[in-house]
Symmetry: C2
Subunit: 389 residues, 2 copies
C-alpha cells in the first residue's frame, strides 16, 4: 500500500505514518518496494507490504488421530508440513484404562530429523478438548484421554517462559480461521461447528471470538439432546456429540467405530455410490444435526453458521444435488441467520486458527511487541530448537 493510501485508510498524518512504518520496517515486520496502483496505467509508486517472514509462529493441531504442525508468517497462510497420521485408529470409547499423557516435555525428533523454523515468535496450539484460555489447562479432552492436563505449563517448561504460548479449543480456532481468512470474513455473529469424533464450536460476537468467562464456552458438542441416548465421553447423557459425532455415524452405517479415517472414507464413498446403509446413516445423523442446530440458532441467532471438519466431508460426499437440504431444511430459519458449507478444509482450519492466535500479540501492538522481543530473541531461538530439533 502506498503512503497516500495509508493516510486515506487510517486518517493519520503523513508524518505519523512515516514514523510508524519506519518502526515496522526497522523491526522487519514490513518491507518496502514499488507497486503499480490498481486500475491505473501510471508508473509504480513506493509501497509498503507486510513482510511474510517478519514474525513467524509455530502452529500445532492435536486431534484424536493426528498431530499436524505448520509454520506461518504474519502475512502468509500457514504452510502445513506433511502431518504424521497416527498408526492407531480413532480411539473407541470405554477403552480408558491407560489414558495417554502429553509427552511434550520429552521431545523427540521430527520425522525429517531437522528443525522446523528458526525464528518463531510464538506458539499456537489447537487441541480437541475443553481448554482454559488463561493458562492452557486442558481440563477435559475425553476423546484424547486427557483430564486436567496442564498443556500450556508443559509447553512453557519445554520452550522457555519467553515464548508466548496460546492453547485453545480446535473448533474455536477453526471459527477464528473462518473469520479471519475464510467464509466468515466480515460477518458479525458467527457460529462455527466442527465435527470429528468430538463435536466443538466457536462463537464470534461482533467479529471477536467469544468463549465465556474462563474460555470454556463454545462446547456445543455437550448440550443434551437425547435423554434416552448414550452416555457421552464427558460423562453426561445424550450430548449432541453422541448423536452427530464420527462414531455414531460409523455405528449407524454398521461399520466399526474403531475403523478410524479409513472406515469413514469407505462410508462416504459408499454414500456417494448410493449404498442404502451409508445413506440411512447420513440421513439419521443429519436429522440430529438439524435438531441441535435449531437449538443453537434459537439461543444465539448468528448471522452465519459455518460447518467444518467432518461435516464438510459429509456434505461434499453426499450424492444429492441439494446437499445441505437434509440438514437446514429441518430448522426454522430466523431473520438474518444463514448457513455456509464453503468452510476451510478440515486439515487447514484449526492450524490457521492456531497461527492467528499466536500472531495476535504481534498484530495487536507491533511496536510494543518489537520492543519486548528485542531482548529475548536469542534465548528463545535456542529453546525452540532444543524442543523441535
Amino acid at each position: 500500500m502506498s503512503r497516500p493510501a495509508l493516510v486515506g485508510r487510517t486518517g493519520l498524518t503523513r508524518s505519523a505514518i512515516r514514523g510508524l512504518i519506519g518502526e515496522l520496517v526497522a523491526g522487519g515486520l514490513v518491507s518496502e518496494g514499488r507497486a503499480r496502483p490498481p486500475r491505473h496505467a501510471g508508473p509504480a509508486v513506493p509501497a509498503r507490504a507486510p513482510e511474510p517472514q517478519g514474525a513467524v509462529v509455530l502452529a500445532f493441531d492435536i486431534e484424536v488421530d493426528s498431530l499436524a504442525v505448520a509454520g506461518s508468517g504474519s502475512a502468509a497462510r500457514p504452510r502445513p508440513r506433511p502431518s504424521r497420521p497416527a498408526a492407531r485408529p480413532l480411539q473407541p470409547r470405554g477403552d480408558r484404562r491407560r489414558p495417554r499423557r502429553a509427552r511434550l516435555d520429552d521431545p523427540r525428533p521430527t520425522a525429517d530429523g531437522g528443525r522446523l523454523i528458526g525464528d518463531e515468535v510464538g506458539v499456537g496450539v489447537a487441541v480437541a478438548g475443553v481448554v482454559r484460555r488463561a493458562d492452557g489447562l486442558v481440563s477435559m479432552a475425553p476423546n484424547l484421554g486427557w483430564k486436567d492436563e496442564p498443556l500450556g505449563a508443559r509447553l512453557a517448561n519445554a520452550l522457555g517462559d519467553d515464548v508466548p504460548i496460546a492453547v485453545a479449543n480446535e473448533a474455536e480456532l477453526g471459527g477464528l480461521a473462518e473469520a479471519r481468512r475464510g467464509v466468515a470474513r466480515g460477518a458479525d455473529h458467527v457460529l462455527f461447528i466442527s465435527g470429528e469424533v468430538g463435536v466443538g464450536g466457536g462463537l464470534l460476537v461482533d467479529g471477536r471470538p467469544f468463549a465465556g468467562v474462563a474460555g470454556y464456552g463454545g462446547e456445543v458438542g455437550h448440550f443434551p439432546v437425547n435423554p434416552a441416548g448414550r452416555t457421552c465421553s464427558c460423562g453426561s447423557l445424550g450430548c449432541w456429540e453422541t448423536e452427530v459425532g464420527a462414531l455414531s455415524l460409523l455405528r449407524r452405517a454398521g461399520r466399526s467405530e474403531r475403523g478410524g479415517r479409513l472406515e469413514m472414507d469407505a462410508l462416504l464413498r459408499g454414500a456417494a455410490a448410493g449404498e442404502p446403509d451409508a445413506l440411512g446413516a447420513l440421513e439419521e445423523t443429519g436429522r440430529w444435526i438439524g435438531i441441535g442446530l435449531a437449538g443453537l440458532v434459537n439461543v444465539l441467532n448468528p448471522s452465519l453458521v459455518v460447518f467444518g471438519g467432518l461435516f464438510q466431508r459429509v456434505i461434499h460426499s453426499s450424492p444429492r444435488s441439494s446437499r445441505p437440504s437434509w440438514i437446514v431444511g429441518r430448522y426454522r430459519r430466523l431473520d438474518g441467520s444463514s448457513a455456509s458449507w464453503r468452510a476451510l478444509s478440515e486439515a487447514e482450519a484449526p492450524l490457521i486458527g492456531a497461527a492467528e492466535l499466536a500472531l495476535e500479540p504481534v498484530l495487536a501492538d507491533p511496536s510494543a511487541w518489537l520492543r519486548r522481543s528485542a531482548d529475548s530473541s536469542e534465548t528463545r531461538k535456542l529453546a525452540v530448537r532444543r524442543v523441535v530439533a
Copy 2:
C-alpha cells in the same frame, strides 16, 4: 457528586465538567444542591445529582396473563402501578382457534380513568415473545397467540413517530434489569433465565445485551432437550420449555394446566407443606432445569446465571434448607460460572428492563437527546395523552 469528584472520576477538566453539567442542568436532567462528603465531617459542598423526573419513560410488560405499566425517571426505580390481572387464566396449549390481536391501536381508558404521566420521552415494552429489535415485530409469541404482530409499528401509529418506542423480549429485559440494577451489576458474562408459561433468556456479553444478528437470540426456551417429549407451542418437538415451563409443573403435580396463577400458588404452598405430588413435580422439573442448564453453560460459560420469574418463586417455595441444590447439583460447574437465586422480583424485572431500554438514548448521549427533544416535546405530549388517557 461534587465537581472535584466528577473531575476525578472522568478525567475531564474543570471547565469541561462545568460546560457539560450546565447543559444537563439547563435541560432538566441534573439538579444542583449541597451534599456532605462521605466519611468527612466537613461542611456540605455544592453537588450535582441526576434529576429523577428529568427524563421519564413509560414501561410496559405484556405477559400471558397480565399487563403491567410503570413510569420511571432517569434516576429512579420504576414505580409499578397496580397491574390488572387478566380474568382469563393461563391459556392452555392447543386452544388456538381465535388468536387474540394486539389492541394497541384501539386504546381504552386505564383502570383509574386518568393519564399516567405527562412528560414521557420514550416507551419501552417487554413482551413474552420472539421480537425483532429493529422494528418491534413480534414474530412469534405462541403463548400469547401472536404471530408476526407488528407491535412496534402499531405503537408508533398510536403514539406518533416522535416518541421512541423500543420493544424487546421480556426475559432479555429481565437480564438487562439484573445487570443494571440487580444481582448481575458488574458481572461481565451473564445468562438470565426466566420461566413462566414460556421460558426465555437474556444474555449479556462483556456487560452488554447480546441478542444475535436480528435480536432473536436468547430463546433458551426453544432448544430441544427431549425428542420423546411433547410438541411445543412453537411447533418443534421437546423444547426445554415443554419440560420446565409452568404448564409442565402443574401437569406433573396433577393440577389443571388452565388453573393459572391461583393453581400455581396452591402448588407452591403444597410443596412448602411437604405434599408428595408437589414435591415430586418440583423434583422432576428441577431435573430438566439442570439438564438444560448444563447445555447452556457448556455453550456460553457465563460468569453468572440468574434465575428469574417462576423459577424464583419455585426456589423460594421449596421447603429444603439447601434449596437450589436439586438444580445446580446436577450440572458440572465450570471455572468462573456461578448461579444466583437473588434475582429481582418476577413483577419488577421486565418492567425495570423495559424502562432501562427506553432510557438508553437519553443516557447514551444526553446532549444530543436534549437537542432533539426540544423540537418535538409538545406534539409528543399530546400524542401520549391521546393513547393513555
